[in-house]
Protein backbone atom coordinates (compact mmCIF):
# COMPACT_ATOMS: atom_id res chain seq x y z
CA UNK A 1 0.00 0.00 0.00
CA UNK A 2 1.53 3.25 -1.12
CA UNK A 3 -0.88 5.44 0.74
CA UNK A 4 -2.55 3.41 3.48
CA UNK A 5 -5.57 5.74 3.50
CA UNK A 6 -6.55 5.12 -0.14
CA UNK A 7 -8.86 2.14 -0.48
CA UNK A 8 -9.11 -0.37 -3.33
CA UNK A 9 -12.34 -0.79 -5.21
CA UNK A 10 -13.85 -4.27 -5.00
CA UNK A 11 -16.70 -5.74 -7.00
CA UNK A 12 -19.30 -7.91 -5.36
CA UNK A 13 -19.41 -11.37 -6.92
CA UNK A 14 -22.14 -12.71 -4.68
CA UNK A 15 -24.08 -11.41 -1.72
CA UNK A 16 -26.50 -13.27 0.50
CA UNK A 17 -28.16 -12.97 3.87
CA UNK A 18 -26.89 -15.28 6.58
CA UNK A 19 -29.50 -14.32 9.15
CA UNK A 20 -32.76 -12.35 9.14
CA UNK A 21 -34.08 -9.64 11.40
CA UNK A 22 -33.26 -6.15 12.53
CA UNK A 23 -29.62 -7.03 13.10
CA UNK A 24 -29.31 -9.18 10.02
CA UNK A 25 -26.01 -10.43 8.69
CA UNK A 26 -25.11 -10.28 5.04
CA UNK A 27 -22.11 -11.97 3.45
CA UNK A 28 -20.30 -10.44 0.50
CA UNK A 29 -17.94 -12.33 -1.77
CA UNK A 30 -15.79 -9.78 -3.57
CA UNK A 31 -12.83 -9.44 -5.88
CA UNK A 32 -10.66 -6.45 -6.69
CA UNK A 33 -11.81 -4.27 -9.56
CA UNK A 34 -8.19 -4.03 -10.59
CA UNK A 35 -6.87 -7.57 -10.94
CA UNK A 36 -3.32 -6.40 -10.31
CA UNK A 37 -4.10 -5.74 -6.65
CA UNK A 38 -4.20 -9.49 -6.15
CA UNK A 39 -0.50 -9.73 -7.05
CA UNK A 40 0.53 -7.96 -3.89
CA UNK A 41 -2.32 -9.06 -1.69
CA UNK A 42 -1.39 -11.44 1.12
CA UNK A 43 -3.64 -11.94 4.05
CA UNK A 44 -3.77 -14.54 6.77
CA UNK A 45 -6.66 -15.77 8.92
CA UNK A 46 -7.57 -13.20 11.54
CA UNK A 47 -6.59 -10.14 9.56
CA UNK A 48 -9.01 -7.33 8.87
CA UNK A 49 -9.82 -4.68 6.36
CA UNK A 50 -11.38 -1.23 6.53
CA UNK A 51 -14.50 -1.62 4.44
CA UNK A 52 -16.44 1.35 3.29
CA UNK A 53 -18.12 3.50 0.72
CA UNK A 54 -16.79 6.95 -0.16
CA UNK A 55 -19.38 9.44 0.95
CA UNK A 56 -20.64 7.22 3.74
CA UNK A 57 -17.71 6.03 5.81
CA UNK A 58 -15.55 3.09 6.73
CA UNK A 59 -15.57 0.42 9.40
CA UNK A 60 -13.22 -2.38 10.34
CA UNK A 61 -14.30 -5.95 9.52
CA UNK A 62 -12.45 -9.20 9.67
CA UNK A 63 -11.82 -10.97 6.41
CA UNK A 64 -13.95 -14.06 6.86
CA UNK A 65 -12.38 -16.08 4.07
CA UNK A 66 -9.15 -17.99 4.28
CA UNK A 67 -6.30 -17.22 1.87
CA UNK A 68 -6.63 -20.82 0.79
CA UNK A 69 -9.87 -19.84 -0.88
CA UNK A 70 -8.46 -18.14 -3.92
CA UNK A 71 -9.87 -15.45 -6.14
CA UNK A 72 -12.17 -13.75 -3.68
CA UNK A 73 -12.47 -12.25 -0.21
CA UNK A 74 -15.45 -12.69 2.05
CA UNK A 75 -16.95 -10.32 4.57
CA UNK A 76 -19.90 -11.08 6.81
CA UNK A 77 -21.41 -7.88 8.08
CA UNK A 78 -24.12 -7.28 10.65
CA UNK A 79 -26.26 -4.21 10.18
CA UNK A 80 -25.40 -1.72 12.94
CA UNK A 81 -24.77 1.87 11.95
CA UNK A 82 -24.41 4.18 9.01
CA UNK A 83 -21.76 2.29 7.03
CA UNK A 84 -23.19 -1.17 7.53
CA UNK A 85 -26.65 0.02 6.55
CA UNK A 86 -25.26 1.40 3.31
CA UNK A 87 -23.28 -1.79 2.68
CA UNK A 88 -26.38 -3.93 3.14
CA UNK A 89 -28.04 -2.08 0.27
CA UNK A 90 -25.42 -3.44 -2.12
CA UNK A 91 -25.92 -6.53 -4.28
CA UNK A 92 -23.86 -8.65 -6.67
CA UNK A 93 -22.47 -6.40 -9.40
CA UNK A 94 -22.19 -3.39 -7.10
CA UNK A 95 -18.90 -2.34 -5.61
CA UNK A 96 -17.45 -0.96 -2.44
CA UNK A 97 -13.99 -0.08 -1.23
CA UNK A 98 -11.54 -1.59 1.21
CA UNK A 99 -8.05 -1.13 2.55
CA UNK A 100 -6.02 -3.87 4.07
CA UNK A 101 -5.02 -6.39 5.05
CA UNK A 102 -4.71 -4.80 8.47
CA UNK A 103 -3.72 -6.06 11.88
CA UNK A 104 -2.12 -9.30 12.90
CA UNK A 105 -3.23 -12.88 12.30
CA UNK A 106 -3.73 -16.09 14.19
CA UNK A 107 -0.30 -17.72 14.58
CA UNK A 108 -1.31 -20.75 12.56
CA UNK A 109 2.31 -21.65 11.89
CA UNK A 110 2.97 -22.00 15.59
CA UNK A 111 -0.17 -24.08 15.97
CA UNK A 112 1.01 -26.76 13.56
CA UNK A 113 0.65 -30.22 15.03
CA UNK A 114 -1.82 -29.07 17.67
CA UNK A 115 -5.50 -29.76 18.22
CA UNK A 116 -7.66 -26.72 17.61
CA UNK A 117 -10.99 -25.85 19.20
CA UNK A 118 -12.96 -22.86 17.98
CA UNK A 119 -15.68 -21.47 20.20
CA UNK A 120 -17.91 -18.94 18.49
CA UNK A 121 -21.13 -17.10 19.20
CA UNK A 122 -23.31 -15.16 16.77
CA UNK A 123 -21.40 -12.98 14.32
CA UNK A 124 -18.28 -13.89 16.31
CA UNK A 125 -17.88 -16.85 14.01
CA UNK A 126 -16.68 -14.54 11.22
CA UNK A 127 -13.02 -14.35 12.32
CA UNK A 128 -13.08 -18.08 13.22
CA UNK A 129 -14.29 -19.18 9.81
CA UNK A 130 -10.93 -18.55 8.07
CA UNK A 131 -9.18 -20.51 10.83
CA UNK A 132 -11.42 -23.52 10.27
CA UNK A 133 -11.09 -23.20 6.52
CA UNK A 134 -7.31 -22.89 6.74
CA UNK A 135 -6.97 -25.95 8.95
CA UNK A 136 -9.26 -28.01 6.72
CA UNK A 137 -7.25 -26.93 3.68
CA UNK A 138 -3.98 -27.85 5.41
CA UNK A 139 -5.44 -30.83 7.21
CA UNK A 140 -2.22 -32.80 7.65
CA UNK A 141 -0.48 -29.97 9.48
CA UNK A 142 -2.88 -29.97 12.40
CA UNK A 143 -4.38 -32.38 14.92
CA UNK A 144 -8.04 -32.60 15.84
CA UNK A 145 -10.32 -29.76 14.82
CA UNK A 146 -13.37 -29.08 16.92
CA UNK A 147 -16.00 -26.43 16.20
CA UNK A 148 -18.29 -25.15 18.91
CA UNK A 149 -20.84 -22.59 17.88
CA UNK A 150 -24.05 -21.15 19.16
CA UNK A 151 -26.52 -18.37 18.47
CA UNK A 152 -29.84 -17.25 19.85
CA UNK A 153 -31.92 -19.40 17.48
CA UNK A 154 -31.34 -21.64 14.50
CA UNK A 155 -32.27 -18.75 12.23
CA UNK A 156 -29.54 -16.66 13.82
CA UNK A 157 -26.88 -19.20 12.92
CA UNK A 158 -24.25 -17.77 10.59
CA UNK A 159 -22.78 -19.99 7.90
CA UNK A 160 -25.53 -22.63 8.36
CA UNK A 161 -24.90 -24.27 5.02
CA UNK A 162 -21.20 -24.64 5.72
CA UNK A 163 -21.84 -26.10 9.14
CA UNK A 164 -23.98 -28.79 7.57
CA UNK A 165 -21.12 -29.59 5.25
CA UNK A 166 -18.61 -29.63 8.10
CA UNK A 167 -20.95 -31.76 10.18
CA UNK A 168 -21.11 -34.33 7.36
CA UNK A 169 -17.35 -34.37 6.85
CA UNK A 170 -14.98 -36.28 9.06
CA UNK A 171 -12.20 -33.73 9.32
CA UNK A 172 -13.91 -31.59 11.92
CA UNK A 173 -16.19 -32.23 14.86
CA UNK A 174 -19.09 -29.83 14.86
CA UNK A 175 -21.05 -28.89 18.01
CA UNK A 176 -23.92 -26.48 17.54
CA UNK A 177 -26.31 -24.90 19.97
CA UNK A 178 -29.18 -22.49 20.29
CA UNK A 179 -30.14 -20.55 23.39
CA UNK A 180 -33.83 -21.44 23.47
CA UNK A 181 -35.57 -24.74 22.68
CA UNK A 182 -36.89 -25.10 19.11
CA UNK A 183 -38.87 -27.87 17.46
CA UNK A 184 -36.80 -30.29 15.43
CA UNK A 185 -33.49 -28.86 16.62
CA UNK A 186 -31.24 -31.90 16.72
CA UNK A 187 -28.35 -30.30 18.57
CA UNK A 188 -27.63 -28.80 21.95
CA UNK A 189 -29.89 -26.24 23.60
CA UNK A 190 -28.19 -23.76 25.97
CA UNK A 191 -25.48 -21.16 26.05
CA UNK A 192 -22.12 -21.62 24.39
CA UNK A 193 -20.08 -21.74 27.64
CA UNK A 194 -22.32 -24.57 28.81
CA UNK A 195 -21.87 -26.39 25.53
CA UNK A 196 -18.13 -25.96 25.93
CA UNK A 197 -18.26 -27.79 29.26
CA UNK A 198 -20.43 -30.46 27.67
CA UNK A 199 -17.91 -31.02 24.87
CA UNK A 200 -15.05 -30.64 27.35
CA UNK A 201 -12.12 -30.54 24.93
CA UNK A 202 -8.80 -31.64 26.36
CA UNK A 203 -6.20 -28.93 26.88
CA UNK A 204 -3.48 -31.37 25.98
CA UNK A 205 -1.51 -30.03 23.01
CA UNK A 206 -4.49 -27.84 22.16
CA UNK A 207 -5.31 -24.28 21.24
CA UNK A 208 -8.68 -22.69 21.91
CA UNK A 209 -9.87 -19.76 19.83
CA UNK A 210 -12.95 -17.86 20.87
CA UNK A 211 -14.92 -14.96 19.55
CA UNK A 212 -18.41 -13.72 20.27
CA UNK A 213 -20.32 -11.27 22.42
CA UNK A 214 -18.33 -9.97 25.45
CA UNK A 215 -20.48 -11.78 28.00
CA UNK A 216 -19.99 -15.08 26.20
CA UNK A 217 -16.23 -14.57 25.99
CA UNK A 218 -16.11 -13.83 29.69
CA UNK A 219 -17.69 -17.18 30.61
CA UNK A 220 -15.88 -19.12 27.89
CA UNK A 221 -12.56 -17.89 29.28
CA UNK A 222 -13.59 -18.96 32.77
CA UNK A 223 -14.66 -22.37 31.55
CA UNK A 224 -11.54 -22.89 29.48
CA UNK A 225 -9.55 -22.28 32.60
CA UNK A 226 -11.64 -24.87 34.41
CA UNK A 227 -10.89 -27.32 31.63
CA UNK A 228 -7.20 -26.74 32.21
CA UNK A 229 -6.35 -24.43 29.32
CA UNK A 230 -3.44 -22.11 30.13
CA UNK A 231 -3.71 -18.43 29.13
CA UNK A 232 -1.18 -18.88 26.35
CA UNK A 233 -3.31 -21.64 24.84
CA UNK A 234 -6.32 -19.37 24.47
CA UNK A 235 -6.77 -16.81 21.71
CA UNK A 236 -9.46 -14.29 21.03
CA UNK A 237 -10.03 -11.27 18.84
CA UNK A 238 -10.99 -7.83 20.08
CA UNK A 239 -12.80 -5.05 18.37
CA UNK A 240 -13.12 -1.37 19.12
CA UNK A 241 -14.17 1.73 17.30
CA UNK A 242 -11.55 2.49 14.67
CA UNK A 243 -10.92 5.18 12.15
CA UNK A 244 -7.51 4.72 10.57
CA UNK A 245 -6.84 1.02 11.11
CA UNK A 246 -3.09 1.63 11.04
CA UNK A 247 -2.25 2.72 14.56
CA UNK A 248 -2.46 6.49 14.15
CA UNK A 249 -5.87 7.78 15.07
CA UNK A 250 -5.59 6.64 18.65
CA UNK A 251 -9.00 5.41 19.69
CA UNK A 252 -8.93 1.62 19.57
CA UNK A 253 -6.38 1.02 22.30
CA UNK A 254 -6.98 -1.32 25.18
CA UNK A 255 -4.33 -0.32 27.67
CA UNK A 256 -1.07 -0.01 25.78
CA UNK A 257 -2.17 -2.24 22.91
CA UNK A 258 -3.70 -0.93 19.71
CA UNK A 259 -6.39 -3.33 18.58
CA UNK A 260 -5.84 -2.33 14.96
CA UNK A 261 -2.09 -2.92 14.90
CA UNK A 262 -1.18 -5.20 17.80
CA UNK A 263 -4.45 -7.08 17.31
CA UNK A 264 -7.13 -7.94 16.56
CA UNK A 265 -5.77 -11.36 17.55
CA UNK A 266 -4.54 -11.63 21.12
CA UNK A 267 -3.69 -14.50 23.38
CA UNK A 268 -5.37 -14.47 26.74
CA UNK A 269 -1.85 -14.33 28.14
CA UNK A 270 -1.53 -10.84 26.63
CA UNK A 271 -4.91 -9.63 27.77
CA UNK A 272 -5.39 -11.08 31.22
CA UNK A 273 -3.67 -8.17 32.95
CA UNK A 274 -5.29 -5.45 30.85
CA UNK A 275 -8.57 -4.55 32.53
CA UNK A 276 -9.64 -2.40 29.61
CA UNK A 277 -9.52 -5.35 27.21
CA UNK A 278 -12.89 -6.59 28.37
CA UNK A 279 -14.47 -3.21 29.15
Amino acid sequence: MDNPYIPYQVNILEAWYETPGERCIKTFKVTFADDKVWDNWNHLPGQCAMVGIPGVGESMFCISSSPTEEGFLRFSIMIMGKTTTALHELEAGDSFYLRGPLGNNFPLDEWKGKNIVTIGGGIGQAPLRPVIQWVRDNRDDYGELELIYGARSSADHCFKVEFEDIDQSDDCACHLSIDVEEEEWPHFVGFVPTLLMEVAPSPENAIAVTCGPPIMIKFVLENLEKLGFKPDQVYTTLENRMKCGIGKCGRCNVGHLYVCKDGPVFSYEQLKDIPEAFA
Binding site: Q9, Y97, C249, G250, G255
Partner: protein, 341 residues
Protein backbone atom coordinates in the same frame (compact mmCIF):
# COMPACT_ATOMS: atom_id res chain seq x y z
CA UNK B 1 27.04 23.78 12.19
CA UNK B 2 27.19 27.46 11.45
CA UNK B 3 26.39 30.15 13.97
CA UNK B 4 25.43 33.63 12.79
CA UNK B 5 24.06 36.81 14.22
CA UNK B 6 20.94 38.68 13.23
CA UNK B 7 20.43 42.29 14.10
CA UNK B 8 16.93 42.88 15.49
CA UNK B 9 16.52 45.72 13.05
CA UNK B 10 16.76 43.27 10.23
CA UNK B 11 14.04 40.95 11.43
CA UNK B 12 11.56 42.45 8.95
CA UNK B 13 14.04 41.87 6.14
CA UNK B 14 14.44 38.28 7.18
CA UNK B 15 10.70 37.72 7.32
CA UNK B 16 10.39 39.36 3.92
CA UNK B 17 13.01 36.98 2.58
CA UNK B 18 11.25 34.02 4.17
CA UNK B 19 7.90 35.01 2.75
CA UNK B 20 9.01 33.66 -0.59
CA UNK B 21 8.19 30.35 1.05
CA UNK B 22 4.93 29.59 2.78
CA UNK B 23 5.72 31.48 5.96
CA UNK B 24 3.98 30.68 9.23
CA UNK B 25 4.64 33.01 12.13
CA UNK B 26 2.99 34.11 15.35
CA UNK B 27 0.41 36.83 14.76
CA UNK B 28 -2.45 38.39 16.62
CA UNK B 29 -6.10 37.67 16.04
CA UNK B 30 -7.68 40.25 18.30
CA UNK B 31 -5.61 39.59 21.42
CA UNK B 32 -5.02 35.91 20.78
CA UNK B 33 -1.62 34.71 19.59
CA UNK B 34 -2.01 32.29 16.71
CA UNK B 35 0.38 30.79 14.21
CA UNK B 36 -0.77 31.77 10.77
CA UNK B 37 0.39 32.15 7.23
CA UNK B 38 1.67 35.69 6.78
CA UNK B 39 2.29 37.65 3.58
CA UNK B 40 3.62 40.79 5.19
CA UNK B 41 6.33 40.96 7.89
CA UNK B 42 4.16 43.54 9.65
CA UNK B 43 1.67 40.81 10.52
CA UNK B 44 4.18 38.89 12.60
CA UNK B 45 3.92 39.43 16.32
CA UNK B 46 7.15 38.61 18.06
CA UNK B 47 6.44 39.90 21.54
CA UNK B 48 4.67 36.67 22.46
CA UNK B 49 4.88 34.00 25.12
CA UNK B 50 3.49 31.14 23.15
CA UNK B 51 0.49 30.60 20.89
CA UNK B 52 -2.74 29.26 22.33
CA UNK B 53 -3.11 26.65 19.60
CA UNK B 54 0.20 24.86 19.06
CA UNK B 55 1.91 25.03 15.66
CA UNK B 56 1.28 21.30 15.24
CA UNK B 57 -1.65 22.47 13.16
CA UNK B 58 0.75 23.33 10.35
CA UNK B 59 1.97 19.76 9.89
CA UNK B 60 -1.19 18.13 11.22
CA UNK B 61 -4.01 20.47 10.22
CA UNK B 62 -7.17 20.42 12.26
CA UNK B 63 -9.04 19.36 9.14
CA UNK B 64 -7.44 17.95 6.03
CA UNK B 65 -8.56 16.16 2.90
CA UNK B 66 -7.28 12.63 2.38
CA UNK B 67 -8.84 12.11 -1.03
CA UNK B 68 -11.65 13.37 -3.17
CA UNK B 69 -14.28 11.57 -5.18
CA UNK B 70 -17.36 12.07 -7.25
CA UNK B 71 -20.35 9.90 -6.36
CA UNK B 72 -20.90 7.46 -9.22
CA UNK B 73 -17.30 7.65 -10.39
CA UNK B 74 -15.04 4.91 -9.02
CA UNK B 75 -11.94 7.06 -9.21
CA UNK B 76 -10.44 8.48 -6.00
CA UNK B 77 -8.07 11.41 -6.22
CA UNK B 78 -5.42 11.52 -3.55
CA UNK B 79 -4.60 14.86 -2.06
CA UNK B 80 -1.19 16.13 -3.06
CA UNK B 81 0.30 17.70 0.04
CA UNK B 82 3.34 18.70 -2.00
CA UNK B 83 1.31 21.51 -3.54
CA UNK B 84 1.48 23.34 -0.25
CA UNK B 85 5.12 23.96 -1.03
CA UNK B 86 8.14 24.63 1.11
CA UNK B 87 7.06 25.98 4.45
CA UNK B 88 8.88 27.80 7.20
CA UNK B 89 7.51 28.03 10.70
CA UNK B 90 9.17 31.01 12.26
CA UNK B 91 9.32 31.54 15.99
CA UNK B 92 7.97 28.30 17.34
CA UNK B 93 9.00 27.44 20.87
CA UNK B 94 11.42 24.58 21.54
CA UNK B 95 8.73 22.55 23.33
CA UNK B 96 6.46 22.63 20.29
CA UNK B 97 9.29 21.57 18.00
CA UNK B 98 10.20 18.77 20.33
CA UNK B 99 6.57 17.70 20.31
CA UNK B 100 6.78 17.28 16.55
CA UNK B 101 9.85 15.09 16.93
CA UNK B 102 7.90 12.98 19.41
CA UNK B 103 4.80 12.69 17.26
CA UNK B 104 6.96 11.80 14.24
CA UNK B 105 7.59 8.44 15.85
CA UNK B 106 3.92 7.60 15.81
CA UNK B 107 3.36 8.76 12.26
CA UNK B 108 6.36 6.70 11.13
CA UNK B 109 5.45 3.65 13.17
CA UNK B 110 5.08 0.70 10.81
CA UNK B 111 2.86 2.51 8.34
CA UNK B 112 4.20 5.83 7.13
CA UNK B 113 1.53 8.49 7.25
CA UNK B 114 2.06 10.09 3.86
CA UNK B 115 0.28 13.37 4.58
CA UNK B 116 2.00 14.14 7.83
CA UNK B 117 5.43 13.02 6.70
CA UNK B 118 5.23 14.96 3.44
CA UNK B 119 4.47 18.12 5.39
CA UNK B 120 7.30 17.40 7.80
CA UNK B 121 9.62 17.03 4.85
CA UNK B 122 8.48 20.37 3.44
CA UNK B 123 8.73 22.32 6.66
CA UNK B 124 11.73 24.02 8.20
CA UNK B 125 11.38 24.87 11.87
CA UNK B 126 12.90 28.11 13.03
CA UNK B 127 12.69 28.17 16.80
CA UNK B 128 12.83 31.02 19.25
CA UNK B 129 14.47 30.17 22.55
CA UNK B 130 12.45 31.00 25.66
CA UNK B 131 14.63 33.48 27.50
CA UNK B 132 11.66 34.00 29.78
CA UNK B 133 9.28 31.10 30.34
CA UNK B 134 6.13 31.76 28.28
CA UNK B 135 3.89 30.72 31.12
CA UNK B 136 3.87 30.05 34.80
CA UNK B 137 2.93 26.43 34.16
CA UNK B 138 5.85 25.59 31.89
CA UNK B 139 7.61 22.41 33.00
CA UNK B 140 9.59 21.39 29.93
CA UNK B 141 12.71 20.72 31.99
CA UNK B 142 10.93 17.94 33.86
CA UNK B 143 10.13 15.88 30.79
CA UNK B 144 13.39 16.05 28.88
CA UNK B 145 13.08 19.45 27.24
CA UNK B 146 14.56 22.85 27.80
CA UNK B 147 13.61 26.47 27.11
CA UNK B 148 16.60 26.43 24.77
CA UNK B 149 15.98 22.88 23.54
CA UNK B 150 17.15 22.01 20.06
CA UNK B 151 15.38 18.75 19.45
CA UNK B 152 13.19 18.91 16.39
CA UNK B 153 14.36 22.37 15.38
CA UNK B 154 16.31 23.24 12.25
CA UNK B 155 17.39 26.71 13.32
CA UNK B 156 17.36 28.26 16.76
CA UNK B 157 17.16 31.98 17.37
CA UNK B 158 18.15 33.33 20.75
CA UNK B 159 17.47 36.84 21.93
CA UNK B 160 20.91 37.82 23.24
CA UNK B 161 19.50 40.58 25.38
CA UNK B 162 21.24 43.20 23.25
CA UNK B 163 20.40 44.21 19.71
CA UNK B 164 20.88 40.75 18.29
CA UNK B 165 19.55 37.27 17.88
CA UNK B 166 22.02 34.45 17.68
CA UNK B 167 21.10 32.14 14.79
CA UNK B 168 22.28 28.57 15.25
CA UNK B 169 21.82 26.08 12.44
CA UNK B 170 21.01 22.67 13.86
CA UNK B 171 20.33 20.51 10.83
CA UNK B 172 21.10 20.43 7.15
CA UNK B 173 17.73 22.00 6.46
CA UNK B 174 18.56 24.72 8.91
CA UNK B 175 21.92 25.28 7.35
CA UNK B 176 20.34 25.66 3.96
CA UNK B 177 17.89 28.20 5.27
CA UNK B 178 20.68 30.03 7.02
CA UNK B 179 22.47 30.31 3.70
CA UNK B 180 19.34 31.72 2.11
CA UNK B 181 19.31 34.35 4.81
CA UNK B 182 23.07 34.97 4.68
CA UNK B 183 22.83 38.48 3.22
CA UNK B 184 20.94 39.58 6.30
CA UNK B 185 23.13 37.85 8.86
CA UNK B 186 26.37 38.88 10.45
CA UNK B 187 29.14 36.87 12.03
CA UNK B 188 28.76 35.69 15.57
CA UNK B 189 31.31 36.62 18.19
CA UNK B 190 33.55 34.04 19.89
CA UNK B 191 31.75 34.26 23.16
CA UNK B 192 28.22 34.23 21.79
CA UNK B 193 27.76 30.49 22.03
CA UNK B 194 28.93 30.33 25.59
CA UNK B 195 26.65 33.26 26.37
CA UNK B 196 23.74 31.26 24.97
CA UNK B 197 24.60 28.47 27.33
CA UNK B 198 24.57 30.86 30.22
CA UNK B 199 21.24 32.28 29.12
CA UNK B 200 19.90 28.75 28.79
CA UNK B 201 20.92 27.92 32.31
CA UNK B 202 19.34 31.10 33.56
CA UNK B 203 16.14 30.36 31.66
CA UNK B 204 15.97 26.86 33.05
CA UNK B 205 16.17 28.34 36.50
CA UNK B 206 13.09 30.41 35.76
CA UNK B 207 10.92 27.38 35.12
CA UNK B 208 8.81 27.23 38.23
CA UNK B 209 6.93 23.99 38.02
CA UNK B 210 8.34 20.51 37.96
CA UNK B 211 7.71 16.82 38.40
CA UNK B 212 10.08 13.91 38.53
CA UNK B 213 8.70 11.53 35.91
CA UNK B 214 11.04 8.73 36.83
CA UNK B 215 9.10 5.58 37.53
CA UNK B 216 5.75 7.04 36.49
CA UNK B 217 5.45 5.03 33.25
CA UNK B 218 6.11 1.81 35.13
CA UNK B 219 3.85 2.73 38.01
CA UNK B 220 0.78 3.81 36.08
CA UNK B 221 -0.49 0.36 34.99
CA UNK B 222 -0.67 -0.70 38.63
CA UNK B 223 -2.89 2.27 39.50
CA UNK B 224 -5.68 1.24 37.17
CA UNK B 225 -8.34 1.00 39.86
CA UNK B 226 -6.92 3.68 42.13
CA UNK B 227 -9.29 6.28 43.51
CA UNK B 228 -7.24 9.13 42.10
CA UNK B 229 -8.87 8.82 38.67
CA UNK B 230 -12.33 9.40 40.01
CA UNK B 231 -11.11 12.38 41.97
CA UNK B 232 -9.03 13.82 39.15
CA UNK B 233 -11.92 13.60 36.72
CA UNK B 234 -14.77 14.64 39.00
CA UNK B 235 -14.75 18.22 37.77
CA UNK B 236 -13.86 17.40 34.14
CA UNK B 237 -16.31 18.87 31.65
CA UNK B 238 -15.31 16.51 28.86
CA UNK B 239 -14.27 19.30 26.52
CA UNK B 240 -11.39 19.17 24.10
CA UNK B 241 -9.19 21.96 25.42
CA UNK B 242 -6.46 19.82 26.99
CA UNK B 243 -6.13 17.61 23.94
CA UNK B 244 -6.67 20.06 21.09
CA UNK B 245 -4.19 22.47 22.61
CA UNK B 246 -1.66 19.75 23.36
CA UNK B 247 1.27 19.79 20.96
CA UNK B 248 1.68 16.01 21.17
CA UNK B 249 -1.96 14.97 20.95
CA UNK B 250 -2.44 13.50 17.53
CA UNK B 251 -5.72 11.59 17.58
CA UNK B 252 -8.06 12.13 14.70
CA UNK B 253 -11.44 11.26 13.31
CA UNK B 254 -12.16 10.44 9.67
CA UNK B 255 -15.38 11.64 8.08
CA UNK B 256 -16.77 11.68 4.57
CA UNK B 257 -18.36 14.87 3.31
CA UNK B 258 -20.48 15.05 0.20
CA UNK B 259 -21.93 18.10 -1.48
CA UNK B 260 -25.28 18.15 -3.28
CA UNK B 261 -23.35 17.92 -6.55
CA UNK B 262 -22.02 14.50 -5.57
CA UNK B 263 -18.56 15.90 -5.16
CA UNK B 264 -17.06 14.70 -1.92
CA UNK B 265 -14.01 14.12 0.13
CA UNK B 266 -12.77 11.90 2.88
CA UNK B 267 -11.18 14.12 5.48
CA UNK B 268 -9.58 13.71 8.82
CA UNK B 269 -9.95 16.12 11.70
CA UNK B 270 -8.64 16.39 15.22
CA UNK B 271 -10.54 14.30 17.70
CA UNK B 272 -10.27 14.17 21.45
CA UNK B 273 -10.17 11.16 23.75
CA UNK B 274 -12.02 13.35 26.24
CA UNK B 275 -15.14 13.43 24.06
CA UNK B 276 -17.79 10.94 25.10
CA UNK B 277 -18.46 9.60 21.61
CA UNK B 278 -14.79 9.04 20.86
CA UNK B 279 -14.87 5.33 21.64
CA UNK B 280 -18.59 4.56 21.27
CA UNK B 281 -19.24 1.42 19.23
CA UNK B 282 -21.93 1.40 16.59
CA UNK B 283 -23.91 -0.82 18.96
CA UNK B 284 -23.97 1.99 21.53
CA UNK B 285 -21.57 0.21 23.88
CA UNK B 286 -18.84 2.49 25.18
CA UNK B 287 -15.69 0.89 26.59
CA UNK B 288 -14.83 4.21 28.27
CA UNK B 289 -18.24 5.17 29.55
CA UNK B 290 -17.39 8.01 31.93
CA UNK B 291 -14.92 10.85 32.31
CA UNK B 292 -12.97 8.76 34.77
CA UNK B 293 -11.93 6.23 32.14
CA UNK B 294 -11.25 8.98 29.64
CA UNK B 295 -9.05 10.97 31.99
CA UNK B 296 -7.18 7.82 32.96
CA UNK B 297 -6.60 7.06 29.30
CA UNK B 298 -5.29 10.55 28.57
CA UNK B 299 -2.70 10.42 31.33
CA UNK B 300 -1.79 6.80 30.62
CA UNK B 301 -1.41 7.48 26.94
CA UNK B 302 1.03 10.31 27.55
CA UNK B 303 2.95 8.87 30.47
CA UNK B 304 2.72 5.10 30.04
CA UNK B 305 1.57 3.76 26.67
CA UNK B 306 3.64 6.14 24.58
CA UNK B 307 6.89 5.69 26.50
CA UNK B 308 6.20 1.95 26.51
CA UNK B 309 6.23 1.88 22.73
CA UNK B 310 8.38 4.81 21.67
CA UNK B 311 10.63 5.35 24.67
CA UNK B 312 9.57 8.91 25.21
CA UNK B 313 6.90 10.61 27.28
CA UNK B 314 4.28 12.18 25.04
CA UNK B 315 4.25 15.43 26.98
CA UNK B 316 6.63 18.31 26.46
CA UNK B 317 5.63 20.38 29.46
CA UNK B 318 4.27 23.38 27.54
CA UNK B 319 1.66 23.92 30.25
CA UNK B 320 -1.19 24.72 27.88
CA UNK B 321 -3.54 22.13 29.34
CA UNK B 322 -2.97 23.55 32.81
CA UNK B 323 -3.27 27.18 31.77
CA UNK B 324 -6.50 26.75 29.91
CA UNK B 325 -8.41 24.00 31.66
CA UNK B 326 -11.73 25.61 32.60
CA UNK B 327 -11.84 23.77 35.92
CA UNK B 328 -8.17 23.81 36.90
CA UNK B 329 -7.46 20.15 36.27
CA UNK B 330 -3.70 20.15 36.51
CA UNK B 331 -1.66 17.38 34.95
CA UNK B 332 1.16 17.99 37.42
CA UNK B 333 -1.28 17.67 40.29
CA UNK B 334 -2.43 14.32 38.88
CA UNK B 335 1.14 13.12 38.36
CA UNK B 336 1.97 14.19 41.87
CA UNK B 337 -0.79 11.92 43.09
CA UNK B 338 0.53 9.13 40.91
CA UNK B 339 3.94 9.51 42.50
CA UNK B 340 2.45 9.51 45.98
CA UNK B 341 0.00 6.69 45.39
Amino acid sequence: MAVKKLSKEKIAEVLQELSKFRLIAPALSDDVVIFKEIQDPEEAYLDYGNSTVPPKKVVFPQTETLFRFQIGNPELTEKDVGEEGTTVIFGLRPCDARAMAIVDKLFRWDYDDPYYLKRRELVTLVGMACVEPPSINCFCTSVGGSPFGKEGLDLLLTDMGDEHYLVQALTEKGEKLQETLAPHLGDAGDKDESKVEELAKEAEGKILRSINPEGIPEKLPGLWDHGLWKEASASCLGCGICTFLCPTCHCFDIQDEVEESGEGRRARMWDSCMFSEYTVHASGHNPRPTRKERTRNRINHKYSYYPDRFDVIACVGCGRCINLCPVNIDILDILEQVVEA
